[in-house]
Each structure stands twice: as structure tokens, then as C-alpha cells.
Amino acid sequence: MTEYIVKDKLTFLRALASSGYNLIAPISMKNKIQMAPTDPDKVDLDYLNTFLSPKSLFFPQTEKMMAFHKDLTKSDAFVYKPLGLDQVKPSVIFGLRPCDAKGLSVIDKIFQNNRFTDPYWNTKYEPSVKIGLACLNPGPNCFCTAVGGSPFGEIGLDAITLVRGNGFGLKTLSAKGEEFLKNTSGLEIGDLTGEIADLKKKVEASLPLPLDLSKVQGATILSIFNQPHWKTTADRCLNCGTCTFVCPTCHCFDIQDEQDEEGGVRIRNWDTCMSWLYTVHGTGHNPRPTKTERMRQRFMHKIKYIPMKQDGTCGCIGCGRCVQLCPVNIDIREVAKQMNQG
């Protein structure tokens, strides 16, 4: 791991953009801060976090997976051929918040699981260089520290930066980051260890204390699943799905075919476990018939199932987007507390 001092922000961003990689960074679009391909000059660093999570960079809201044609004079009529898997110019993503980078690593373990690799995710995620931006002034809805994260968290990142005067402090975190930054101009080797440790302590102290989830972790699935509070917890929920769309670790999708006279495509679209259609069988039987079961599924998934499958890592990374955007003010922290109380 190498620590660098970056004197000037813009010079650094320009160097990233001319590295042979696509620069993706926060910019202002329709009054919202979003991660998008951009010129270095347009990068906006005055943000708490991006409005939506960065998952769409690797897992677009809608994505064509394969296509076929109906030309019967050719031998491959009606045979699907893959789309979108060609080698493309890789991206360097600058300005990821540590919570979101951790969220990406949580869904990476699902898209590349113990049996299958999703090639559509893999071809975008693997080659990209992810550079984080540590949080020096977290917002009122931030609670990464409550769920095992940190404003200086390193999971899922190849390097992390912090704003320092007109420039940045920069620390590499992976071999990929080391290799990439080694060739970037305008970097001076420096020593940031003490500075980062002090800042981290200070900023963490301004954030919420860890949530006590020890009972949830120790209890059986069924004892939490059958807790009596679910009915009242779900009372307010509209099943609108907003929380699932903005969540950095929600990864569910639907697969649909579309066609016209000449051919067709198979596409995937973000889906939500809050919808009745999500689980209904062809027979009409629905294992999650009411909103109570559907809302319970979302919170069980984040707070119980993902930790069981990912060595204790919580499925909520504390970005606060669902807390801020839920139309009826359902707060995952309150639900988690209730789950822990029984």
C-alpha cells in the first residue's frame, strides 16, 4: 500500500481521464448528484452522497442480455446470441463513498456466487478501478458505523482519497489500485498514516454507535421470522418499492422477452420483492401473499440472511437512502432494533 499526496484536484482528475480508462465521477444532473461518465472539469465534489447508489454502473436498471432474429433463410433463426459482453474500455470510478463501495462488494458475492458467475456483472465490475472518497462531514441520515462500516471504510475499493486543501490524500488498497496509480502523473509519495487515523477517529465519533444485533445473529431464522411485531411494523408500508430501488445492496431482477416481426431481445430489469407478482406461481399460489410477508422478507434479507451467508457482514451498509426516501418514514434502524428485541 502506498500513500500519496495529490496537490491539485483537477490535475489529478485529468490524469485519471487520460489514463486509457473511462472516467466516471459525481456530477450534477437535474439538480441531483449522480455517478456518470464525465469530463474531469465537470466533476462535482461538493456532495454528501450520490442520489442513487452506484450499483447501476455494473447492473443497469434495464439491460439487454441477448438477441435473436427470425430470418428462416439463415440457420440460426430463433437462436439467442449474447449482447453486451464485448470487452469495453474499463472505467475508473472516482468518488465512491465507502458505504456504497461496501454495498457493491456485498452484491458482488451474489453476482459471482459459489456456483455461478454473472458475465454481465463480471465484465463491468472486474476491470474497473474503484477510488473512494472518505467522508469528512457525514449527513444526518448516515449510519455506516451502526452496521459495521466506517466513513474511511476500505472494503470494495482499490484506493481511497480524502480532500486535503486544494488536493487529496490518496492511499492505495489493492494490487489493482497500486498498479493503476503507479503510472498516474502528479502524485507525490507521502505519509498520511497519522492524519488518516486522527480524522477517522474524529469523524466516526460524530456518527451513530453500532447497533446491537447480537440477538438477531444468535437466534434461529424462524424465531425472528415469527416475531409478533411484523404485522405492526409493516402496517405503514405501502409496498412502493422505493427502498429497494435506492438500496445499494438490493439486486433483484426480472427477465423478460420482447419481440417484433424481425426478432427479439431478452432483457433484465430491476425488480422488487415488495411486489405481489415477484413471487406468485403460475398456479396463482403466492408464498408471500400480503405486504407483511413482503416487507418482512426485505428486512430479514438485509439483517439476517445476508449476514448468515456472508460471514456476518450486514446487508445494510448504512447509506441512509431508504430512511430519507421512504414516503412513510420506515426506518431500517428501528426495524433492526425491534428484531433484536424480539
Binding site: 439467442y80 451474489i110 456456483r115 458475465p119 463480471n122 421470522f225 406468485v280 410477508e293 451467508k309
Partner: protein
């Protein structure tokens, strides 16, 4: 990189209407491309996504046994969009299959045991695969006594008549085929699957049961096995949930932390007793 979403192209080599209500059809597929059959190496209990270009995909249990070479078989109930479309397809039409998906029945762990195989209705598909596989000369010695109980509402709704009539003639498998109510021309057993199971089930010592059927059959058969002393580790079932990816990625088929597609569809009753009944 292998693309697990991409179906292997297949041709419908043969179509057979299985039941008198015409709601079930068996599809025999042949792979269009050389080498794809080897890539689709499967074991009894696994399933595949059947893909109709422009219509969508459906998860269907593999009804053939890997010992039957040159083709794969599936039996499809007419339900909704894709299955109904398939019922209107013809021999020679091109579609796709991808997989194999899910885990097979624990054939290794079952070695040395007696087996009680119970099927109700068209859920018999992957059990056709299992029995065909087990009756092969190279596999049969690995297992003890095999008892097969199979029931349907009426004689016309029983699948695979040719196969089980052959099995009935053998002395290395006991076959009990039953229908719910008396019907003209039926000389076989009459009675519900749980009742027949109670009558014919072998003693639980060193015996495992595999059950596939509609929820109502499972609900009434389970207590019969429990009363007979079968241990929950030796009661094996296959679950169904709505699916899309079949790979444990799209999220929709989960039962607790397990994905029916990737971690199932085969589970023991011990496992199921620790999971929510969201299926």
C-alpha cells in the same frame, strides 16, 4: 467465460400428449450443436430453464435420465404464457434449454439404503429420471429395496405408463400405482397416496423416502412417514418457487437464506423445518 444465461439451442425431436386432459405434454429435445449434450451433464433431480425465443423461460425438472443418451425429456403442464406457447409448438421447432440447474437428489448419500419413492400427479418427472437411473445395471446394486408409490386422480392423468408398466414386471422394484377413485377399466389400486404409503412403506431402518407431489399430498404423507418412524434427515423433497435466473442471483426464489434454484430444489425435511414456509 461461460454464460449461464445463454440457452443451448435444441430441436423438438418428439412431442407426446401425456394425459387425457391434454394439459401435459412431454418434449424430447435434441441438441443442435455438437458438444452441447456433454456440456449439459446432469443428474436426476436437477432442472433446466426451457427457453422460447420471444416468449420467455420456465424452470422444468429433467424427466430423462443421464443414462438415456442423445436426448433430454421434459414434461410440461399448460399453465401460463410460456407453457401454453410450448403446447402449440411442433416437432422440428427450435427452442433452447439452459442448465443443468439446482442440485440432484443425494444419490451418493443414499447408497446402501432402501428407498421409498413417492409421487403424486405430474410431480413424478424427476422421479422418472431417478428410477430410470437407479435401475441401470451399474447403479442398481448400490441401493437396497426400492419401493415406488405413484398416484393420480384418474388413470388418464398418470404419466409415463410405458415406463412404470415395465417396472411393474421387474423383481428389483415394487411398484404401487394408485388412483383416487374407482374408474371404468381400471384394475389397479384405488386410494390416496398417503393411505397407500401407510400400507406399503418399508420399515424405517436404513430407509430414505423421496417425495414429490402437490402440497396437499405432501401434507398428508409426511405424518404417515413420521408415524412410521422415518427420520427427518431421510425424508427428501423437491421445492418449487417462481424463478427467473435459476442461478441464485435474481433473488426471487429464496426460502430464508437459501435459494431454491441454486441451493435446492432438493432439501431434507430437517432443513425445511428450519426454514420459513415461503414456498
Amino acid at each position: 467465460m461461460h454464460n449461464p444465461y445463454l440457452p443451448y439451442p435444441v430441436r423438438i425431436a418428439m412431442l407426446r400428449v401425456e394425459t387425457e386432459d391434454k394439459n401435459l405434454r412431454t418434449f424430447k429435445f435434441e441438441f443442435l450443436n455438437l458438444g452441447d449434450e456433454e456440456k449439459f451433464a446432469y443428474l436426476p433431480g436437477q432442472f433446466a430453464e426451457l427457453s422460447v425465443s420471444g416468449q420467455g423461460e420456465i424452470p422444468i425438472g429433467i424427466a430423462s435420465s443421464p443414462t438415456e443418451k442423445g436426448f433430454v425429456l421434459f414434461t410440461v403442464n399448460r399453465v401460463g404464457q410460456v407453457s401454453s406457447f410450448m403446447h402449440n409448438m411442433k416437432e422440428g421447432d427450435v427452442m433452447g434449454i439452459r442448465g443443468p440447474l439446482g442440485h440432484p437428489y443425494p444419490l451418493d448419500r443414499l447408497e446402501g439404503k432402501n428407498l421409498l419413492i413417492i409421487a403424486g400427479g405430474f410431480a413424478v418427472t424427476t422421479l422418472r429420471s431417478t428410477i430410470t437411473w437407479m435401475l441401470q445395471p451399474q447403479n442398481r446394486p448400490k441401493y437396497g429395496k426400492i419401493t415406488f408409490v405413484y398416484g393420480a386422480r384418474s388413470p388418464g392423468l398418470l404419466l409415463y405408463k410405458e415406463e412404470w408398466s415395465e417396472w411393474q414386471k421387474r423383481d428389483d422394484i415394487d411398484v404401487f400405482v394408485t388412483i383416487d377413485r374407482e374408474a371404468p377399466g381400471w384394475n389397479g389400486r384405488v386410494g390416496f397416496v398417503p393411505t397407500v404409503t401407510k400400507e406399503v412403506c418399508p420399515p424405517p431402518q436404513n430407509t430414505a423416502a423421496i417425495i414429490c407431489g402437490p402440497p396437499i399430498m405432501i401434507k398428508f404423507t409426511q405424518p404417515v412417514l413420521e408415524a412410521a418412524g422415518y427420520s427427518n434427515d431421510d425424508i427428501i423433497m423437491s421445492l418449487e418457487n417462481r424463478m427467473k435466473c435459476g442461478l441464485g442471483i435474481c433473488g426471487r426464489c429464496n426460502v430464508g437464506p437459501e435459494y431454491v434454484c441454486k441451493d435446492g430444489p432438493v432439501f431434507t425435511l430437517t432443513q425445511l423445518n428450519q426454514l420459513p414456509k415461503e414456498y
